[in-house]
Amino acid sequence: MQLDAKIPEGPLAEKWDAHRFSIPLVAPSNRRKFEVIVVGTGLAGAGAAATMGELGYRVKTFTYHDSNRRAHSIAAQGGINASKNYRNDGDSDYRLFYDTIKGGDYRSREANTYRLAQVSGEIIDQATAQGVPFGREYGGLLGNRSFGGAQVSRTFYARGQTGQQLLLGAYQALARQIKAGSVKAYNRCEMLDIVVDDGRAVGVVVRDMLTGEISSHSAHAVVLATGGYSNAYFLSTNAKASNATAIWRAHRKGALFANPCFTQIHPTCIPQADEFQSKLTLMSESLRNDGRIWIPSEIGETRPAGDIPDDQRDYYLERRYPAFGNLVPRDVASRAAKKEVDADKGVGPMRNGVYLDFADAIGRLGRDTIEARYGNLFEMYERITDEDPYEVPMRIYPAPHYTMGGLWVDYDLMTTIPGLYSIGEANFSDHGANRLGASALMQGLADGYFILPNTIAAYLSQYLGTDPISTSELAFTRVEADVAGRTERLLGVNGSRTVDWFHRELGKIVWEHCGMARSAEGLTKALAEIPALKEEFFADVRIVGDGDSLNQTLEKAGRVADYFDLAELMCRDALHREESSGGHFRVEHVTEDGEAKRNDEDFRFVSAWGFEGDGSEPSLTKENLEFENVELKTRSYK
């Protein structure tokens, strides 16, 4: 298969404008003739659905949540980047673009990333007008904080709840369209497959989670805004229900899956405390602005943190990366923590963390200032650990947090299935091999508010005067039967182990071999273990209850079933990519001082994998990345 990313011609800064002028439009009076399905109502999905509703399209949204306000975008804490340059510290669209490309270790497309920077300012304008209560200076103008991977302050924030406030903004905009009748919302309705007819995406099959009823919905185009797949690791910072079923089902129907091995392990999470732990909790990266990360210099140190004198502490990030210090990008910070804990210098009861210490900042700025900046995060930490971070340093350790990989999309955000779009974390587009902090909110809203609602017109305009195909057609009924069959199969196993047991086991394999450090040996092992575990799952999983009413175990089982295959693809991709780039660290490919060693000669491409049938090896298509505007450098934060 040949991949055409459809990147517009012309100078970088003019591509988006030129493209918007060149693509066909749908006139206002014709928009109501088009139906669009949006799956997922997080930042990207709610933003896109609301905006398309405003434009006059007829939109249907689907979410497995009870309300459109619950998506996991809500949990983003620290902030959202924009190249407003309100601080007069040298920021610009070009610098945000450059930081993003560099932060992503030169594995993202120049044109997409530049466009992201270009629309970033408009996102802040839009959110402010919606009533998002961003943090402000005394003069009433917007405040900024700095964030990892950047030397300017460009991050806008609403206390430690930026994602919540931005999502509520999008949710409220969506609520307005629901009231106006332009959007019809299907809540507690989980998409279980997409329907492709004649090579085009024509609808979805969903399951009503309260009644178990399986039904079809057709439309002119389908948009997947269903988030990432970090829960393949079981323990992650993602919400429990976050899952990859929608994008995986699309993949099975022909959408290529790009860079599945590019996953982000976030450096500042609360370390695991117990084998029964159900998820890991993120402590915002913004804490690294004022917190200093250290471990005791001596292996086997037993004194409490406060009793260890300064000269017996190793502030290893400040030591190893003097230019960026505690604000190095996430992948670098995570690996550095792993290195120390692997050397048995970890702290805490399970010796699985490093200190994040606020004593200096409290001494310098006063407790009140620190409380104003991070009060809610400190409270959250105390609730979980029963330790007071104003008095003793926090303990942190990396955890799976975000997936840069996702469905392959072209410049219009369309997958390789015509009429099927993917936006937000669900696609692979803008972050390369590593995402910078405060850029996920930016990308979700850029895709949802400003990019997709423009680019989708190019596709829709071809179908003016046609109706979506009827859901009684064979294309739909066949998929419905398939979905019902999968549910029955799961319910019929009646084995002896719980769904969570399998998910936990899968997570251990993926974390061990496709986590922060990966090796050919480990990945090969994982590629043998995962299919075996999957087989065991279908032979021995136990799901109590029926398929005709609310059955949370059944919902979980369906999601875990799809994670086996995705996890396998993650490992396959990681094995194939013989280099270390961003979040993908192959122990075989390191520099002399142990830093990641990229291989631009052989791996300057996007790996786009195609599904070739159960039991068959996936096919690989490469999209070569052209860099016309930035020079590829070795990332250095020293």
Binding site: K84, R159, Q172
Partner: protein, 253 residues
Amino acid sequence: MDLTLRVWRQHGPNQPGAFEEYAAPDIRSHVSFLEMLDIVNDRLSLEDREPIAFEHDCREGICGMCGVMINGQPHGPQQGTATCQLHMRKFRDGDVITIEPWRATGFPVLRDLVVDRSALDRIIEAGGYITVDTGSAPDANLVPVPQEAAEASMDAAACIGCGACVAACPNSAAQLFTAAKLAHLNLLPQGQPERFMRTEAMVDTMESFFGSCTNHAECEEACPKQISIDFIALLNRDYIKAKWRNGRLAGQR
């Protein structure tokens, strides 16, 4: 620790429910309340009994999905804490813990501990937004917002929509939820054009689903985000003004 749970089990919306008792032995004190339920559910599954249905998602106290009555208190004994952030160290060995769904006419029980909170969405749809189509916003720094106003607005905007306020209220009123959204928007300059229209529409919609406020202040006690009932005073003031105001002259005052 060894616990006994008394849990409300109800198969469907219009079916009778009842308490069932479950032993929950060997629970470690640092697991969260929901992880304790996970453990109990896994044990139930292996005994071929249906797991207890309960809602949860982020388990970080921000999505608003979780929420049950624990010994008669919404979200349990710890102030300012959603159910998912409550840890078992707040309980003692031998405790009997009664777990119920939110009890309110506006929140019909769907199954076990799961209730239908969609009425809250209807209140937002009635006017809990600022009308601004994507793309039409002016530069974000064009309108300065006094820091105090932005902070007060944020205090209200912290609401996670869990419904604990309704569950705590003897009247099953949704005043705190509605007031939080009204204050979030009505305190900001951007929210002024629709202020009184919004207030009237949201309050009237709220009244169609929920009871009325008689100032018990139980909602403030129960709120995991500790949202103040002062915002209810603001709601009442704006509602009276909205009823008296001539919309056509709104810009004149």
